[in-house]
């Protein structure tokens, strides 16, 4: 995904990226960084353990408050951010997760896309967060490649032609990703 965004002039000019990982621990691996300068850190995934999705959303909200620049009368702010949430399980901290959902919604993301990868991923909790939930049933590398291609296309969508009728239309997902609902 990074490689393809780095070859896209629109993304290179405008996109900033931040990664938050969550398992037992919640970490912001990279603060919001321009695509051109983004160094992908090593992401280590534990074999088992809890999935603290709620805590991740909590960190997300504080990071958004801190790092996304708001408009002032003197200076233009950042565009509304996009949120892509990926999980292969279900929130272990379901109470916190549920209480964070309204908080996330208050942050005015332009779009929230949740992706459930692998057979253990549950889509129901994700549907509380957004109506754009995708499940990748066969989570192999090709599928992920296609998904990330779609994600990067979605990031670049602001620069594509706009339809004669209003509404931001995301490109259709690749074939192997099914929309649940």
């Amino acid at each position: 995904m990074l490689a393809s965004l780095r070859q896209d002039p629109y993304a290179l000019e405008t996109v900033w990226l931040s990664i938050i990982t969550y398992d037992r621990e919640v970490k912001q691996l990279m603060p919001l960084t321009q695509i051109g300068e983004f160094q992908l850190p090593n992401i280590v995934t534990p074999d088992s353990g809890p999935t603290h999705t709620g805590a991740a959303l909590e960190l997300l909200c504080s990071v958004v408050d801190k790092e996304v620049k708001l408009s002032s009368t003197e200076q233009k702010g950042d565009w509304m951010p996009l949120l892509f949430l990926m999980t292969d399980g279900k929130p272990s901290d379901i109470q916190l997760y549920n209480s964070m959902i309204p908080e996330v919604k208050k942050r005015h993301f332009a779009s929230i896309v949740a992706c459930a990868a692998g057979m253990h991923a549950q889509t129901d909790p994700l549907k509380q967060l957004t109506n754009q939930v995708f499940s990748l049933d066969t989570a192999d590398s090709t599928t992920f490649k296609q998904f990330f291609k779609w994600v990067s296309d979605s990031i670049g969508i602001g620069n594509k032609s706009i339809g004669a009728v209003e509404d931001l239309v995301l490109p259709p997902p690749p074939e192997e990703v099914n929309i649940v609902i």
Partner: protein, 465 residues
């Protein structure tokens, strides 16, 4: 949205529409690949347009899907080396200061002169569409491939052509290029008579934005003014109802704030350092018409033909920068100020001839025509300088494309050598300059380029710096 497949020999591609095409859309594609295409390509000089358009040649139907066949883009429209090898040269790469300064290899940047050549081709292609009564409807750097190295451009994605009154547009355009009136009325339903949709007038706005961006590497309407604290609303106003030229001479409220720009956006983002007037007097007039008078008044926008002519005339004002490591290599010199490159600050030292061109409305009378030719060493003279009835465009005859003379700084003197002119006269001495002979360019000298109808007279002016 189309899925595109290469032909086995890679000479053409077939793009299948993902969405179902209704009868109206099919009819439009039928016409684009049929009658509209023939009107442009099957005429005298039709071949010229093959380089400027990637025009669909056929409509096909396969497994219930509609597709169009298009020629493959020439190889110079793809990066040949570096990080972006194999990617299309989308115009965006070359229209943004940040991308040029940080990511683009120098070998792909071309010179300022080749950027003018690119713009001439774009203006000419748009002119051709408009004169056929067609509007592109979605001109943007995404739909115009460019090659600044060779100074070439081609318009792609022609399947969205709008025919006023016949085929309504499917798109309102691409952000950065949508005309203010279209954005302003975007929320109105399609049936509302006040809704403004893409047309020839909105193409003219997009063309002006493209030219401004390819020459100055910044957007003419994206300045420092904040219209609304909500980014989406602010964007809508910036490009729509409240759109304001960043270099408006009297309303300075949208000037870019240099301290808010990233270092990679400079110096091009600083309108005080590189104001739009560096593009020369002819383009300045047109930018004023496009972004001041015509921004909210579509009928006042310059036509594609006006852009083409002004761009061509401006290339006659170009001087090579004497600094070999200048980022742009050329600059416009119109004798209003010192011959100094605005990009690297290098001054020209020495004597520069300026040729003021006069035309003859009737025998024996010569009038100025606001047309100048700035001379540099090893520059060439063409028939369109010699005769005012000849213009350099798609209709120029092969014979008229050949240089007819050249200028040199030779033994401390500026001279014009006659290569092909049959009636070149030094009027000061009333002496004919034969082919192979030269005439020296001295202050005030009058040189008649041709005695034929339309032949121009040159009055030489020398500037010393």
């Amino acid at each position: 949205m189309k899925d595109v497949y290469f032909s086995p020999d890679k000479s053409y591609v077939v793009g299948f529409f993902r969405e179902k095409q209704d009868a109206n859309a099919k009819d439009r594609l039928q016409n684009i690949t049929g009658i509209y295409r023939e009107r442009i390509f099957n005429q005298e000089g039709g071949d010229y347009w093959k380089n400027l358009f990637c025009w669909p040649t056929k409509m096909v139907e396969w497994n219930g899907k509609i597709g169009i066949v298009c020629p493959t883009y020439p190889s110079h429209f793809f990066f040949s080396s570096g990080n972006f090898k194999g990617k299309e040269k989308e115009g965006k790469w070359f229209a943004s200061a940040k991308l040029r300064n940080k990511f683009l290899p120098d070998s792909e940047k071309g010179t300022w002169l080749t950027h003018y050549h690119m713009c001439i081709q774009i203006a000419r292609a748009v002119k051709r569409l408009h004169s056929a009564g067609l509007a592109h409807s979605d001109l943007s750097y995404k739909n115009v491939l460019v090659d600044p190295v060779l100074g070439k451009a081609a318009i792609i994605d022609i399947d969205g052509l709008v025919v006023p009154g016949k085929y309504p547009p499917d798109v309102v355009g691409t952000p950065d290029f949508i005309a203010p009136e279209v954005l302003e009325t975007r929320s109105l339903p399609l049936t509302d008579p006040n809704k403004k949709l893409p047309s020839i007038a909105t193409d003219r706005h997009a063309l002006a934005v493209l030219i401004y961006m390819y020459l100055l590497y910044r957007h003419p309407l994206r300045g420092g003014k904040v219209h609304d604290l909500e980014p989406a609303k602010d964007e809508e106003l910036t490009m729509g109802a409240k759109a304001l030229f960043i270099e408006h001479p009297t309303d300075t409220s949208n000037r870019p704030k240099v301290d808010q720009l990233a270092p990679s956006e400079l110096p091009q983002g600083d309108v005080n350092k590189l104001p739009y007037t560096i593009t020369g007097p002819y383009l300045k007039t047109l930018f004023d018409k496009a972004f001041i008078d015509g921004l909210h008044n579509p009928s006042l926008r310059p036509t594609a033909n006006e852009w083409e002519e002004a761009l061509i005339k401006t290339t006659d004002l170009m001087q090579p920068c004497q600094n070999p490591s200048c980022p742009e290599h050329w600059f416009v010199f119109d004798n209003k100020m010192k011959p100094k490159c605005p990009f690297c600050g290098t001054e020209f030292h020495g004597v520069l001839p300026i040729l003021n061109l006069y035309y003859s409305p009737k025998p024996g009378v010569f009038k100025p025509e606001n047309y100048r030719l700035m001379v540099y060493d090893k520059q060439t003279l063409y028939m369109w300088h010699v005769n005012r009835f000849i213009t350099p465009n798609e209709k120029t005859k092969e014979e008229d494309k050949k240089p007819v003379g050249d200028f040199h700084f030779y033994n401390g003197k500026w001279i014009l050598i006659n290569r092909r002119l049959n009636s070149l006269y030094d009027k000061d001495e009333d002496k004919k300059i034969e082919i192979g002979q030269f005439v020296e360019l001295t202050e005030g000298r009058k040189i008649l380029l041709s005695t034929e109808d339309g032949g121009r007279l040159i009055v030489v002016q020398l500037v010393t710096n």
